[in-house]
Subunit: 348 residues, 2 copies
């Protein structure tokens, strides 16, 4: 599989642009370093856009919805019908990400990868149904090889649209009842961690529910202990939307589009992407630290320092959307502040 | 002094509006609690605006600039001339807060309370000069009683303008070479902490500089150990901009305008305001955790959980401006998301 598209190299950031941006930060009218992470973001973005003065204007958000066979194990606080119902809500404007995409002026691309409660064709929703659901990975592999490749391909195709739209930033979101269970199983396998360390409340399990979820993940890990390759682990334990996110992150990095990673599930997909193609890491920013238990561990595995910590645990790309103004304001400060010389201000 | 304007009561938040907003959060299409602090903000704002669905549209930022006599002790990395120079930069559009106020569409009110390097009358700058500088509080009280009252009054007058402009949010910022030294001395006095615990690098002191700053604060605390009243501590150890901020916070709370508190110096001013008038606390939100050493301790004294932690340490209201989009998006989610019933989505 080394000749697969997702193994193709990602471009390197532009070191000269980063150096130039770093020098500019040193002469703007503020004590050097006093804007903290905002300075780092501006320099990071300069290297990705190959420009001393980067911009984050056009933001593209793709939200991938898909159902999970493991929902049959009773691992979610919500009924499985919600996945299909939320597809309609995303495009109808009433979901959190619908509101936030409007607030930040982002394009919102809703992608339906397959739900048990199929809402059918909906104007504005991209229908790319792979199957009504993955298989229950307690019994079987979640996906066939063809399905995982198809899901990754859908992710890449959405990035191609983002590229056509001249997006300065790609954000991926997800919706799928039981998908924190899939993400937890996948993270446990990739990080060789126990379900006790990573399994959390998801959309709102109580302690008994979390204990059950841990047991389910433990069974799945035992069932698939022979899978040691990243792609095979994704196929056995992942989901259509997780594979689509991983494919999208790889394609975005290959296309020089910076990525803002959302919460727990998206970060597990990012871990898959980086394991499949190490060069992807250079193109990832991390939006927030989710309240979901396993997120901190997965962030640490990616050496990621997220921008926000607001106790959010919704998914849908909602945490990433919240961080968009921070990126824009970091670049605006970098671009529009006066230098000491321009403003006639004395230096230290 | 109990009949002073700043002792007059602050209105109570509207409990019924908060309950109504809290109930609404429970039926929006998301797992209850999954928006974390964003839900808390919406409910908090509902109680302050007396409306189930609050809005944060019009934002007013007043930045108060003033010089400090203690600068003579060599406690800043920057020359004192910078305070006056930055007044021109604020209104000229090149300072960080100038860029950020434009980015969030806020009114930016620049208030000149007195600088050693006086820039003179500048179009757009409100000139309210009290003196070129406070006195060096190592030798004397920083301010006379008339000066501290005048500075607090200027803060209140700026809030009156914000009220005339129908502001949904008041933000105060500050600029003044050596003002982390004044804020540290004041915080040490109010919290009975040692300068070792609270004194930090300010705009960029090295270890020797911080040690010197601690010694200066220690001398000041020893000189003014007999001052035990909050107003008297403010007079002896504060500064014009710190007094103006404290006055502004009190006036905003009295006028039902929510306040978003900036970094270390602003938070010390907020502590003064709350000590002078406990009802002010109900009207304060806290924008960010500054990199400045003493900030965490002062936040803890106010039981404050700030929204952002980006390593910023600039002042000028810059951290507060960064948090404005978070408040707006929290209210937009609360106002514009669909309920389960409206969207036809199943509940847990």
């Amino acid at each position: 599989m080394t000749d697969a598209w997702w193994s193709q190299p990602c471009p390197s950031p532009d070191v000269a642009a980063a150096q130039s941006a770093h020098a500019r930060q040193g002469v703007l009218t503020k004590p050097p370093g006093s804007l903290g992470m905002l300075e780092d973001i501006a320099v990071w973005y300069a290297a990705r856009q190959g420009s001393e003065r980067p911009r984050v204007e056009r933001v593209w958000i793709s939200v991938f919805a898909a159902d999970h066979g493991v929902a049959a194990e009773g691992v979610s606080a919500f009924p499985q019908a919600v996945t299909g119902e939320m597809v309609r809500n995303f495009i109808g404007g009433g979901a959190a990400i619908s509101v936030l995409a409007r607030a930040v002026g982002a394009a919102l691309d809703v992608v339906h990868l397959g739900t048990v409660n199929d809402p059918g064709a909906i104007a504005g929703v991209h229908r790319a149904v792979i199957a009504p659901s993955t298989a229950n990975f307690c019994d079987d592999a979640a996906m066939t090889s063809a399905q995982v490749a198809a899901a990754m391909q859908v992710g890449a195709e959405r990035v191609a649209l983002a590229l056509d739209a001249d997006a300065d930033l790609f954000i991926g979101g997800e919706m799928g009842i039981a998908n924190t269970t899939a993400a937890t199983a996948l993270a446990c396998a990739l990080l060789e961690e126990s379900p006790d360390a990573l399994a959390g409340a998801g959309t709102g399990l109580d302690d008994a529910g979390i204990a059950h979820k841990r047991a389910v993940v433990r069974r799945a890990l035992s069932r698939h202990a022979d899978a040691i390759d990243t792609l095979e682990r994704l196929r056995r334990l992942g989901g259509f939307e997780i594979a689509a996110l991983a494919g999208a992150y790889i394609a975005a990095a290959q296309a020089r589009i910076p990525v803002l990673v959302d919460g727990f599930i998206a970060t597990v997909a990012a871990l898959v992407a980086v394991r499949l193609n190490a060069g992807v890491r250079d193109w990832l920013l991390f939006a927030h630290r989710s309240h979901e238990r396993g997120h901190a561990r997965v962030l640490a595995a990616l050496d990621a320092r997220p921008l926000l910590d607001l106790g959010m645990r919704l998914g849908e790309a909602s945490g990433a959307a919240m961080a968009v103004p921070l990126l824009r304001m970091a670049c605006a400060l970098h671009r529009d502040m006066a230098t000491f010389e321009q403003a006639g201000v004395s230096q230290a």
